[in-house]
């Protein structure tokens, strides 16, 4: 009885205006950003933003569209990251795109296994049981040295990023690589949610019994949602490890990360594509703005500890406030503002 009253994705007629904005953003992202962005903007903001957006997109398929609450996202990211590392290490000359797909498939397999309880459980029972994935995957990655090529410190390092002979190891290169992956996966996801499978997801979310009556294979749909969602989250994990941090340990994919991704989609907007991006932008950028503004305004007055604790309070309060004011997330807030602007403009 939760996520309904969410908008169905617009389907049918191709509204050209719907694609105008994403296209314009892509042009800016590809041609303007690399020219003007500082290394700070790329390394500290855009790279984590891209990886988190993709992970949120994946979770949004599962939670937003298909209605299955999961707290295991970080585990699937870890599965993807460690799988990519091992495929790349152990199969000589494997092209990076293939590595990405294989990593995604590994994460999808892990996700499907941990999605099995969804066949019997719902809601918070399911959410808590996905925590099993969270703890088990982290345990296994730490326990068995094979996963990290017996590195004594248990960490994995990103390999050289080569696609078709081109090196993508600079900050700009890694950004372009991540951007391309995110753009392709997003495009595929948009297609998916407008396909019959996407509509099955929504049917299962809105009313399982009704979905079964109209012939939706409910169990298969749920597992498929887990698989596809984990695939995307796994690829996001590769971006996180290879393009953003470059050296990661299993502890980096902890429960806090899972919560963060869930936050992103709820604050950004459930069951919308842009919700994932808006939410990720909010969670990457807003704390930074708050911390900069805080230290600019009060830096001389308080030590950084006091400032950071106040920030935590402000962020918590803001989350609650957003939930109260706009349960459908910032994305819906944008729509409201746009609608109002449109009305204003429409006036004589």
């Amino acid at each position: 009885m939760s996520v309904h009253a969410l908008p169905l994705p617009l389907s049918g007629t191709l509204d050209r205006r719907r694609f105008a904005w994403p296209a314009a953003l892509l042009v800016v992202a590809y041609f303007v950003v690399p020219l003007v962005a500082t290394s700070y903007l790329l390394e500290a903001i855009l790279l984590p933003f891209l990886a988190l957006s993709l992970a949120a997109l994946g979770l949004n398929l599962l939670t937003g569209y298909c209605g299955q609450l999961s707290l295991g996202s970080a585990a699937f990211m870890a599965a993807g990251a460690f799988a990519a590392y091992n495929f790349n290490l152990r199969i000589d000359g494997l092209p990076l795109p293939v590595t990405l797909v294989l990593a995604g498939l590994t994460a999808a397999a892990v996700g499907t296994v941990f999605g099995l309880p969804s066949l019997r459980l719902k809601g918070f029972y399911l959410a808590v049981s996905t925590l099993a994935a969270q703890f088990f995957v982290q345990w296994a990655l730490t326990k068995f040295g094979w996963f990290s090529n017996d590195n004594p410190s248990g960490v994995i390092d990103a390999p050289k990023l080569l696609v078709a002979g081109l090196a993508f190891d600079t900050a700009t290169g890694r950004y372009l690589l991540a951007l391309t992956v995110v753009a392709i996966v997003t495009a595929l996801t948009v297609r998916l949610v407008n396909s019959p499978t996407g509509r099955n997801f929504i049917a299962v979310r809105d009313n399982e019994t009704a979905a079964r009556v109209i012939g939706v294979p409910v169990l298969r749909t749920k597992l498929l949602a887990f698989a596809i969602s984990s695939f995307i989250i796994g690829v996001a994990g590769v971006l996180w490890a290879f393009t953003y941090l470059r050296t990661v340990e299993p502890a980096g994919f902890n429960l806090d990360r899972s919560f963060q991704i869930l936050f992103i989609i709820i604050i950004g907007g459930l069951a919308t594509i842009r919700g994932a991006f808006i939410g990720a932008a909010f969670f990457v950028v807003f704390p930074l703005i708050l911390s900069r503004a805080g230290s600019f305004a009060f830096g001389g007055l308080f030590d950084s500890g006091v400032l950071d604790m106040s920030q935590r309070i402000v962020i918590g309060a803001l989350i609650i406030l957003l939930l109260i004011l706009e349960p459908r997330g910032i994305s819906a807030l944008f729509d409201r503002v746009a609608a109002r602007l449109g009305r204003l403009r429409g006036r004589p």
Binding site: F135, S148, N149, P152, S153, P159, A251, G300, L301
Partner: protein, 442 residues
Amino acid sequence: MTFFRSITAAAIAAAVSFGATVVRADEQHFPLQSYRVGPYAAGGTGFFGGFIDYLNLINIRDGGVNGVKLTWSEGETQYEVEKGVEVYERLKSNPGIAAWNPLSVGIAYAMIDRVTQDKVPLLTINHGRTDTTDGRVFPYVFPLLLNPYSETSGIVNYIASKEGGVESLKGKKIVVLYHGSPYGKETIPIYELLAEKYGFTVSQIEVPHPGNEQQAQWLQIRRERPDYVVLRGWGVMNPVALKTAQKTGFPAAKIIGNVWSNSEEDVIPAGDAAIGYTAITTQASGNTYPVVQEIQKVVYDAGKGNLEDKNRIGSVYHNLGIVNGILNVEAVRIAQEKFGQRTLTGDEVRWGFEHLKLDPARVEALGAKDLFHSINVTWDNHEGEGYVTFQQWDGKKWNVVSDWIAPDWALLRPIIEKSSEAYAAEKGIKVRTAEDADAIVN
């Protein structure tokens, strides 16, 4: 109350230091990825407090290093890797950066590629990735004083000295209780190696993170009836281990803590259960050492101390910060002798660290006799042969109960080289030579 006291303290500090943040020509800068909030804040405030206190001492007492003033800026990380990276990217363009000191393994891992590219030293005192000891492969990373392997060897050597020599280790039984993380697992093969070498038996038991439940592990320990338990803990796992040991009737005097189980924060929550517990350290605690006394006099009495609670002056983390300060400042001083008394580049400071040799006489001259023993970093040995000592908790404070003990570096070096060479092969890194190390690139 913390909150109000910090307002007044900060207001005074702001009034005093207003305008002092602009970096002028002859300044050496230390960007700090500190953590004063979150689960590990207690360690962070102590360490970064000690570090800043020492930099302050050098500025106030000596007017900087040969006239070059030391500056720093802080970015809060909450011990989180992304925040650490963000702070790195934000502060890395500050002029005159000497070195980075994150005191967090996770953040340090994420910085290895970055500092290597930016050619600035990254210091992980007492912790970090073991194979970065090999300066041939990791030119910019320095696990100063003690890497995890040396720590293991130091602990075993201490147990041997308590038992009356390495021969007496034969037939003894040691249990290692380790934190369920890469950090905790890192020394498993080393304990096994040493057990084989000295003829004791070792059994290693994992405590899952965060370690707030250890009933099962301690019952296992009691069944095994070991002669010693080595506690390789982290955070809340440490007090819980001591409490559960008491609960299952295992004497604290037979428990030996590693370098992340050795602070006041680890034993105070355990109360009386911690009395008699011993732990390894590279820097003794206490405020009787001349350098700590001077910090108290010059810095704290002038109201510029960084610790909010003056009782923490001379605590384990605070002294670690002070020793870290000494090592950083001396590396800058050594590099200045070669390159001139001016602001140095990151690579020049790297050269300084690679010639950081402080013998006991020099350590005494720095006012740190008995605080730490000595260090001898070279271009290929980035750890620098740190000595360890052991302290016992008496319910109020730590008391040193051993001499300075040397780990068995020669035994460990081949294992480290194997790992670093594998890394070099994996990443396609060219192994450095002594000539490479002498060349300055920026």
